[in-house]
């Protein structure tokens, strides 16, 4: 894998961290985003992630490149999983190394923040009340907007 990837199988946190290890880096910060059992008070049984893969990879690489320019001593890597994920599965791993921990924490936090803001990946949340696209809030309340046949409206 390169320093960014979109994967269908289980992510290896260690493999992502290994991308940023180097002799000059005293600090490595790794973030794992894991599917929770509850989201906004709703029980979650399954999350289906999909990506606009070519753009998602390009955008992740742009984020890594711009952060390495902003924080010249940092090295970053990230992997995002797509497909059907269950509670406890790791959906995303971000890693940042730097000579000192302040830069490594800052870089890792900025990396996940920008991924969540800009990388074209979506998830459909499945729970006891049905399924809907996370972040596309109105759709689950508006009867005339279907979900490709999956939609059971919430509440």
């Amino acid at each position: 894998m390169s320093c960014v990837s979109i994967e269908r199988a289980a992510l290896s946190t260690e493999r992502v961290a290994a991308e940023v290890r180097r002799p000059g880096a005293g600090a490595i910060v790794v973030f794992e985003g894991t599917v929770r059992d509850v989201n906004d008070g709703r029980a979650v049984t399954l999350l289906e992630y999909e990506a606009y893969e070519a753009m998602a990879l390009a955008e992740m690489q742009r984020i890594v490149d711009e952060l390495e320019r902003e924080i010249p001593d940092a090295r970053l890597a990230a992997a995002h999983r797509i497909g059907a994920l269950h509670v406890g599965d790791v959906a995303v791993v971000c890693a940042a190394s730097a000579p000192h921990r302040g830069e490594a924490f800052h870089a890792c936090r900025a990396l996940i923040d920008r991924i969540k803001e800009r990388v074209p990946i979506w998830k459909r949340e499945h729970g006891p009340d049905g399924a809907y696209w996370v972040g596309w809030e109105d759709a689950r309340c508006t009867p005339d907007h279907g979900h490709g046949g999956h939609g059971h409206h919430h509440e």
Binding site: G33, T34, V35, R36, Y49, E50, Y52, A54, M55, A56, A58, E59, R62, H80, A91, V92, I112, I115, K116, E117, R118, V119, P120, I121, W122, K123, R124, W133, V134, G135, W136, A139, H145, G146, H147, G148
Partner: protein, 84 residues
């Protein structure tokens, strides 16, 4: 001019299609003009205009960006990568 339009996630559900090749009128020369034209063809998207972003050739585009023959234009609903 022919371009490819990609619909993802909730936008795909609303449009009832994932991808199409379209012939755009001659006066549609920017991403913004194309977006307005697509919203006329898929009215369900129009109400979502405020939450949609548009990409041209795998990068977010400004509405003023020019479009060219063969471009791949994607409608990007609110993204939701990660978990927490």
């Amino acid at each position: 001019m022919r371009v490819t339009v990609l619909y993802f996630a909730g936008a795909r559900d609303l449009a009832g299609r994932a991808e199409e090749r379209v012939d755009v009128p001659d006066d549609v020369r920017t991403v913004g003009a194309l977006a307005a034209w697509i919203e006329q063809r898929v009215p369900a998207l129009a109400g979502r205009g405020g939450s949609l972003r548009w990409a041209r050739n795998e990068a977010f585009a400004a509405m003023s960006d020019a479009i060219e023959e063969g471009d791949v234009i994607a409608i990007i609903p609110p993204v939701a990568g990660g978990c927490a």
